[in-house]
Amino acid sequence: MAVPLKWSDLCLTREVGSGQAGTVWVAKLKRAYLRLEKDSQVAVKLFRPWVLEQPGQYERIYRELETGRHVVHPNLVRTLGLVADERSLPALVMEYYDGESLQEYLARNREAGDPIDFDKALDIVAGVAGALKALHDNGIIHRDVKPGNIMLTPSGSILMDLGVVATEHSA
C-alpha cells in the first residue's frame, strides 16, 4: 500500500480551469506515487468554501474519489487521493490529461467550418460509451455526460468529472 498523498507532496504550477464549484490546477508530484513517477503531472481540484457548506458536499467529493479509484477503464478519469490543502479544505488529486475538451474541439470546428476527422470522432464516442458502460456495470450513474466533460488526449477520449455521480439505488 502506497503512502497516501499529502498536500506537501504537491507543487502547484498553473491553473487550468475555474468553475462555480472551484478551480482545477496542474501540480507536480514531489515523490513517486502508485505508478506515477516523481515530477509527474497531476490535476488538483480545489473547492470554494461556500460549496463545501452545502449539505452532502463532502459525501459527493468522497464518492468522486472512490468512483475514480475503483472503476478502472482506459477512458475514465482516475482519481488518486484526497488531501487537505493549506486552508484545511479537501482537495481532490486526479490524473492529469493534456488535451482539449470535446466542447472546445466542436466550437473550434464549428467556427472554422471544417469537416470533422471522422475516425477520431468515432474513437471519441466509442471510448466514452465504454467508460459509461464500466460505470453502469458498477451500478453508478455519471449524470453529467457532455462534450465539456470529455477530454481528447493523444491516447483516446477520457470521460471526466465524477463530481455528481450517483449509485443506482440512491437515484
Binding site: I124, V125, H136, I141, P147, A171
Partner: protein, 228 residues
C-alpha cells in the same frame, strides 16, 4: 454544476425525466451521450437557444423531443457520408427517445464502432454479411470486383423501377466499390456522395420525402434470398 441538490448536471444534455425531477436511472447517461453524439455527427447544437430551458419549462417536454427530419439527414450526410447515416440514426433513435424505449446498448455500440461494422473496410466474408450486434446492421463492401452481380434480378425481386441507364451506372458503381453511396428510391436511383462529388452531375430524381432504401440493404436482401 449546481449544488442545490435538485438538479446536478448540465441542462442542455440532460434527459427529460431527469430535468423534470422524475425518477430516473442509468438511462440519463445514455441520453446525454446521445446529445453529445448528435453535436459531434451533425455539427449542430443539440439545444441551440439560450432560453431553451425556460421554454422547456413552459411547454413541458415538447421542445426536447427527438425527431428525425430531412434537415438532420442532410447535416449528417454532409458530415459523416451517406453510408454512415443509418448507423448514427439508429444510435440517436435509441438514445434520444423517451426513457421507456431508450435502449441503446453501450457495449454493443462501442463494439460496433470499434469493429468497424459500418465502415467500408467491412468484408463480405465467407460470402456472408456478419452482424454481432442485433441493433447495428453491418454495411458491406464488395472487395472482389470480379464478383458477378445480377442486377436485373435484384431489380426484379425488389420491384424497383430502374431504367436501363440506371442499371448501366449501377454496374459501373458496383465494379468500383462505390455502391454504399447509392440509394434506391421508388423514384429510381439516387447517387449520394458521387453526386456531391460531381461524378454524375445532378440526380434527375426527386428524392424528397420518399422512403429510402440504402443500396447495401437491397444487396443484402437479394443475397439472403439467393439472388446473388
Amino acid at each position: 454544476m449546481t449544488t442545490s441538490g435538485i438538479f446536478l448536471g448540465t441542462i442542455r444534455y440532460g434527459s427529460p425525466e431527469y430535468l423534470f425531477g422524475e425518477t430516473y436511472d442509468f438511462k440519463v447517461d445514455i441520453y446525454s451521450l446521445g446529445a453529445s453524439l448528435y453535436e459531434l455527427v451533425t455539427g449542430l447544437e443539440f439545444i441551440a437557444e439560450k432560453n431553451q430551458w425556460a421554454r422547456m419549462i413552459a411547454r413541458k417536454r415538447i421542445e426536447i423531443e427527438w425527431s428525425w427530419n430531412q434537415g438532420l439527414r442532410e447535416a449528417l450526410e454532409s458530415r459523416v457520408g451517406l453510408n454512415c447515416v443509418e448507423f448514427f440514426r439508429t444510435a440517436l433513435d435509441h438514445s434520444l427517445t423517451d426513457s421507456s424505449s431508450r435502449d441503446l446498448d453501450l457495449g454493443d455500440f462501442a463494439t460496433a464502432i470499434s469493429e468497424k461494422y459500418w465502415r467500408r473496410e467491412f468484408h463480405f466474408a465467407d460470402g456472408k454479411f456478419h452482424s454481432a450486434s442485433p441493433m447495428f446492421e453491418p454495411l458491406g463492401s464488395f472487395e472482389n470486383s470480379e464478383r458477378t452481380v445480377s442486377i436485373q434480378e435484384i431489380v426484379k425481386e425488389l420491384k424497383l423501377n430502374l431504367s436501363h441507364r440506371d442499371v448501366v451506372i449501377l454496374r459501373r458503381i458496383l465494379h468500383k466499390n462505390y455502391w454504399s453511396d447509392f440509394w434506391i428510391t421508388p423514384g429510381g436511383l439516387a447517387y449520394g456522395s458521387l453526386r456531391k462529388a460531381g461524378v454524375f452531375g445532378r440526380s434527375e430524381y426527386d428524392t424528397q420525402g420518399v422512403e429510402f432504401i440504402e443500396f447495401h440493404s437491397a444487396v443484402k436482401y437479394a443475397y439472403q434470398n439467393g439472388l446473388l
